[in-house]
């Protein structure tokens, strides 16, 4: 897997699998500014471009313990820009045992009806 599909930071990682069209988030991601989140944005945008119009891109948060509100803003922004392109649909995977996911992930569905949320 090429390097630009994997971001590893202190306490977190984000990985894009171009074969399965899955972006998975791991650890605790509480970066300081939207500029610090820019590389995550870039990875997400590229993953979206590489997903065919009739395919779906999966965002897998099941192993992400925490995401701060700047991070939620980053993901929400990605959903809105995808909605504006209106190509591939999005699937969001969450973890029932992680409280913020239970409470906040459904917000993404309200941003775009082509987002399905699956909290497992």
């Amino acid at each position: 897997m090429s390097d630009n599909n994997l971001i590893e930071g202190e306490g977190y990682s984000v990985e894009h699998n171009p074969g399965t069209h899955v972006v998975s988030f791991n650890g605790t991601m509480r970066l300081k500014t939207s500029a610090d989140y820019a590389h995550i944005n870039t990875l997400l945008d590229r993953a979206y471009q590489e997903t065919g119009d009739d395919e779906k891109l999966t965002l897998d948060f099941r192993h992400l313990q925490f995401l701060n509100s700047s991070g939620i803003n980053t993901v929400s922004r990605f959903v809105i820009t995808s909605r504006k392109q209106n190509k591939a649909s999005l699937q969001v995977l969450g973890n029932q045992d992680i409280y913020w996911q239970q409470k906040s992930l459904t917000n993404l569905q309200r941003l775009w009806s082509n987002v399905t949320i699956d909290i497992q």
Binding site: E10, G11, T28, R30, L31, K32, T33, S34, A35, F66, N68, S69, S70, I72, N73, S76, R77, I80, T81, D97, I98, Y99, W100, K103, S104, N107, R110, L111
Partner: protein, 192 residues
């Protein structure tokens, strides 16, 4: 017992509590900003520490220990991040205090700003406390895509809307020329 001075301004349902608890911490905002993961570390520590007030088994109507810990970790991290990001001026002291109450926990985090920073922050607080948080949240998200703001302005709104946290704010002008910002956050221990 401290009295609200005429120069002080309070927003929301402020709780005046005479007893200062022993659970407190002071840190330097600049240090926290420079070593960013200290926000995360401190919030996780206090979240776990406070969650030990919760019995291992609770009835259905209450949040379990693990849930409380996760709510507190989310909340405190947002509060510490704000102190680290928005403290301004030569007074960089941040103070954290926590009270355990009957069916809730109360947190108060204090940082300092320049006096001219009060009005714009107060305007935001007014807007936040007097409008539908749900509407504001989605409105802000859509706006953020167009603008490239540094703060996303979603921290408090997320906590109010998704976690049911109740906020109250107080501004206290100090003799040293800075203004202390006290943020109180009340977390209900009952299931919604």
């Amino acid at each position: 017992m401290t009295q609200v001075q005429p120069t002080q301004k309070v927003y929301g349902a402020w709780q005046q509590i005479p007893v200062t608890p022993s659970r407190q911490m002071t840190v330097d905002a600049q240090q926290m900003a420079a070593h960013w993961r200290r926000c995360s570390l401190s919030s996780d520590f206090w979240a776990q520490y406070m969650s030990l007030f919760i019995p291992t088994r609770v009835t259905e109507e209450y949040l379990g220990r693990g849930e409380v810990e996760q709510v507190l970790a989310y909340l405190l991290n947002e509060l510490f991040e704000n102190c680290a990001k928005f403290s301004n001026g030569s007074h960089q002291l941040v103070r954290y205090v926590a009270w355990s109450q009957d069916d809730s926990m109360l947190f108060q985090v204090t940082n300092h700003i320049l006096p001219e920073g009060q009005a714009p922050f107060a305007k935001l607080i007014d807007e936040m406390l007097n409008n539908d948080p749900h509407e504001l949240y989605f409105q802000r998200l859509e706006e953020n895509v167009e603008l490239d703001l540094d703060g996303s302005g979603l921290g408090y709104l997320t906590l109010i809307k998704d976690f049911g946290v109740q906020f109250s704010f107080r501004f206290r002008p100090q003799e040293n020329g800075s203004t202390a910002v006290d943020v109180q956050a009340k977390v209900s221990l009952q299931q919604e």
